[in-house]
Symmetry: C2
Subunit: 231 residues, 2 copies
């Protein structure tokens, strides 16, 4: 925890004039004031605008709906947490004791929020352009790897589109079992594609999650196509 | 329709190097291609980031939750449509015939979307800073007039906070009548504050809307305070 910030600055390719801004960005509210929540508010919007511009330029033929979907997949918690891990952000966080003991250093939401706060800190230390460049450096490789046809679509949507393109009937989902109390449920759902004689089972903490899991497994068993199954 | 764009540029205090960008921003999809939907995607994020920064600076003591609430009230369709009216944007729109005949020139969603597209056009014509300055010129007076205590809060929230601050019981809402088919319903709801012997009625197309209306009327009848009743 709280290693030399120069290592993080090197990973970000940005050197702070005012190091207290970086320090604040790295400070979770459990650690005390000043913490990074206001920075996160600002950083979230900088991230969204920067990624919007990158996608706007990268995919000139794509509609605004497709651009929105692509952006959502890039700025979601899981993606940001992964980028934060690539910066070894965990080594630099300031967390309160309880948060630290309960695994806060690896918690995706803390990592994602901190990364957003860092974008804001760069913006305040320099300007929007510098912050946007920091975003771009991290996220450009992800954009270069995007396949706009499938990226960001959930499995149920992908499965439906695959079937519709082949004029096949829609998949049927039904709950096979549902267990546990309201706050801790477990669903098992079947996804059946009658015309393909295909049936898969998925599990999850909600009906929706179990359906997505079943659809993911169905995609994996579709004949011939690799494409529909690509993450 | 489609007056001299120089008038609009004067109102925006921005002169386009590439006038076709402004023309595209002013073109609704009903008119043809290139239309403004992709620009709207980009402009929406520029607006959000610009307003986030303005609020971040204007209200250094406010939490990220309060800043979010303030921003939502500033970037919502109604506020943007009002700003668009102040620019006389209706005079410059390119709409398809059907849209034009059905009142499109005054439609709040079209005005709001077009304004967002204009922010993107400025960003592409110059840079983010120029676009952000255009946002600021329009929205700074609204920010200066904000009362962060009450602005953007709905009436039910304001009423609840007023009562809680005085250690009074929460208001009770109940449906007095509900009429019409699913797609065209009309609700009448009562809002009762027992300890104040206060009861008001509100109406709306949903239960929620009717409750808000009843709460707004209750706020207007609260003793002494002007503040809780401020829009």
């Amino acid at each position: 925890m709280a290693l030399d910030p120069a290592r993080l600055e090197a990973a970000l390719a940005y050197r702070f004039r005012n190091p207290s801004l970086l320090r604040q960005a790295l400070t979770h509210r459990s650690y005390g004031i000043p913490h990074n929540e206001r920075l996160e508010f600002l950083g979230d919007s900088i991230l969204n605008a920067s990624v919007a511009r990158l996608l706007f330029d990268a995919f000139p033929e794509r509609s605004e709906g497709e651009l929105s979907r692509l952006r959502a997949s890039l700025v979601k918690k899981e993606t940001l947490a992964e980028l934060a891990q690539s910066l070894q952000l965990s080594d630099h966080l300031f967390l309160g004791e309880g948060e630290a003991r309960s695994g806060g250093y690896q918690r995706p939401s803390i990592l994602a929020d901190t990364l957003e706060a860092i974008f804001a800190a760069v913006c305040l230390d320099a300007d929007f352009v510098a912050a946007s460049r920091t975003v771009e450096r991290l996220i450009a490789p992800k954009i270069a790897a995007l396949d706009p046809e499938t990226h960001g679509k959930d499995s149920k949507t992908k499965l439906q589109e695959w079937l519709q393109a082949r004029r096949l009937g829609l998949p049927q989902y039904r709950i096979l079992s549902q267990q546990g109390e309201a706050h801790d449920q477990h669903f098992v759902v079947e996804c059946r594609v009658a015309e393909l004689d295909l049936a898969t089972q998925g599990a999850g903490a909600s009906r929706r999650a179990a359906e997505q899991d079943a659809a993911t497994r169905a995609l994996a068993e579709l004949p011939t196509t690799k494409k529909a199954n690509k993450p």
